[in-house]
Amino acid sequence: MLDFITPFLVNSAVQAITPLLLAALAGTLCGRVGVFNMALEGQMLVGAFAAVVGSYATGSALGGIAAAMLATVAFSLILAYGVTVFRGDAVVICVGMNLLASGLTAYLLRQMFGVSGTFSDPAIVGLEKIRIAAINGWPVIGWIFSRQTALTWVAWILVAVVTVVMFRTPLGLRLRGVGEDPEAAETMGVDVTRYRIITVLVAGAIVGLAGAQLSLGTVSIFSEDMSAGRGWIAVVAVMLGRNHPLWAALACVLFGFADAFSVRLQGQGLPNQVTDVVPYVVTLVALVLTHTKRRRRQDPTITASP
């Protein structure tokens, strides 16, 4: 079993974790202010598409990242204003956003680049993998940290930043209050609507990064619906982490390894239809395991009676 943990597996797991982690962080931020963000899937797709467009147009990966963040923030306006000012139902809005993202990116892909399915072009500049010569040869540390994109680093730094801001600063205290009891926060003079809007938009920028990592990280292509359920897995990570960034990150690590592991299984000759399922099964198992404690308590003598 242990010989599965190869440098390549670890390295590709860390790569797989990055978009999940960024999206889950964004979901955690939204959850903390009381907005259940189920639109991560669609936001990620918009980010991935915009990243390719930006990179293609400017000829630089940085341009791609900027475009991804901008586009996803703009897209997130729907959620930010929809659930606050317009008091719409978050679930319906998120379902609509996911569909809109899927349709709009496919439409624009055809209209802008004249292709359907997958778009690849030498003009798309991918994210550079940062090699750190000093640690490259080290076991574990080198596997994890070397040859990763800057966004992987950003993701993990953001985990720390979000955690510190959330639990050590006045801003974080206010955000936590807004999510727990908006009415109480309002009576204490905190503008709940504004905090929510800004948080959802900042979260949008972070999911934009997740999208950029997806389309410019390991590959430099965009294909329709390329988020392929990762946004939903991030939603589960948010749920499992109970809106705590560190626990959500832990869940992402688990799912990332499951993902890398499934690729590895494919290399062992298992068909991809089976291995593709692995991350979802792991996700479901994690859900069941974390929820079994809440089983209803009852003395066994009662259920025995008619």
Binding site: G88, I93, L99, V235
Partner: protein
């Protein structure tokens, strides 16, 4: 909040759904215009493509699975629950419906019935897993129903890709089902599936209006606590609703396989996106079955028209998907479609 209420009053009084459609059409038209197309041409192509006499059968044919998947979403939604797992449930039904006639001998008409019932049973049972997760373990059905779709799709895909693959073709698909087990053709592209789905749709509407179960589901949707207090067994109800919802998804899969494709082909059931369109239609009507059926038929017309548009202009038919999502987003934001009606 009051400012918005006031400005809403100043708008011309168009009922919400037509207004949302209008907004969708305008925004979609702008999108076409920006990407260098002619919106008038596009919409003309959609309307004639969907509603011209010769094209009506195509629209009806497309409406059968779409209205079916609308019911799949509408039944739980009526009770304030959401089933996002339609894809997986439909695929299971499709595969079962293909395998029954291929591997079980028997007279054709009987096999049709057995295949359809087996498909409904399999999908219904699969759907109840999500309900069981929520009632027994408190895992939100919203997310588990969706996640359960992926293994179902993967495993079905594996089954037709490897052990039960039709080796005479290079594709991941089963062999063709025998002629005798195919649904009788009514005329042109229309087959008996249309009648079966019409009967199911009518039954759902009647159930909603006239039965104790329909009343209980409606009350649950308006206030679940109230329903529980009044003696509605919420857990059992959720399981039953998910079974019915999943069974109809299985029926949709079966009708497609036995009515038009005659085999289970990997991915073929999912690529039209019936599940999500159906969910949109159900949300549009807030789960009310008759309204949902109409909305589903409307989306079917829109999508059928989309094919014609793609043929006649260079505008891709995913435009119709964009239109649908704009309509639902507008309604959700502007008119609180799906807004929790319980007081907090």
């Amino acid at each position: 909040m009051s400012d918005i209420a006031r400005s809403a009053r100043r708008l011309p009084r168009i009922p919400p759904v037509p207004l949302a459609i209008l907004v969708g059409v305008v925004l979609g038209g702008l999108l076409v215009l920006v990407s260098g197309g002619n919106p008038v041409e596009a919409y003309t192509a959609i309307v004639t493509g969907a509603l011209a006499w010769d094209n009506l059968p195509d629209t009806l044919n497309w409406a059968v699975p779409l209205v079916g998947m609308t019911l799949v979403a509408a039944i739980p939604l009526r009770g304030g629950m959401i089933n996002l797992g339609g894809d997986g449930q439909m695929v299971i039904g499709g595969l079962v419906a293909a395998l029954v006639p291929l591997y079980i001998p028997g007279p054709g008409p009987l096999l049709i019935v057995v295949a359809i019932l087996a498909a409904m049973l399999a999908s219904g049972l699969y759907a109840t897993i999500a309900a069981w997760g929520e009632t027994r373990h408190g895992i939100p059905m919203l997310i588990s129903s969706l996640l359960l779709s992926y293994p179902a799709i993967g495993i079905c895909s594996y089954i037709v890709g490897f052990p039960l693959r039709d080796t005479t073709t290079g594709l991941a698909q089963t062999a063709m089902v025998p002629e005798a087990v195919r649904l009788p053709v009514l005329s042109g592209p229309l087959n008996a599936g249309l009648l079966i789905m019409a009967v199911v749709a009518i039954l759902v509407v009647l159930y909603d209006r006239f039965t104790v179960g329909g009343y209980e589901l409606r009350m649950r949707g308006l206030n679940a606590r109230f329903a529980g207090y009044g003696g509605v067994p919420l857990a059992r109800q959720m399981t039953g609703v998910m079974f019915a919802s999943g069974a109809i998804a299985g029926l949709v899969g079966a009708l497609i396989v036995l009515g038009s494709q005659f085999r289970f082909q990997d991915g073929a059931l999912l690529s039209p996106g019936y599940t999500w369109s159906g969910l949109m239609a159900a949300l549009l009507a807030g789960g009310e079955p008759l309204g949902a059926i109409l909305a589903g038929a409307f989306f079917a017309a829109l999508q059928t028209g989309g094919f014609a548009m793609q043929r006649e202009t260079s505008i891709p038919r995913v435009l119709t998907m964009v239109l649908q999502s704009i309509i639902i987003l507008f309604l959700a934001i502007r008119h609180g479609v799906g807004r929790r009606r319980e007081t907090r």
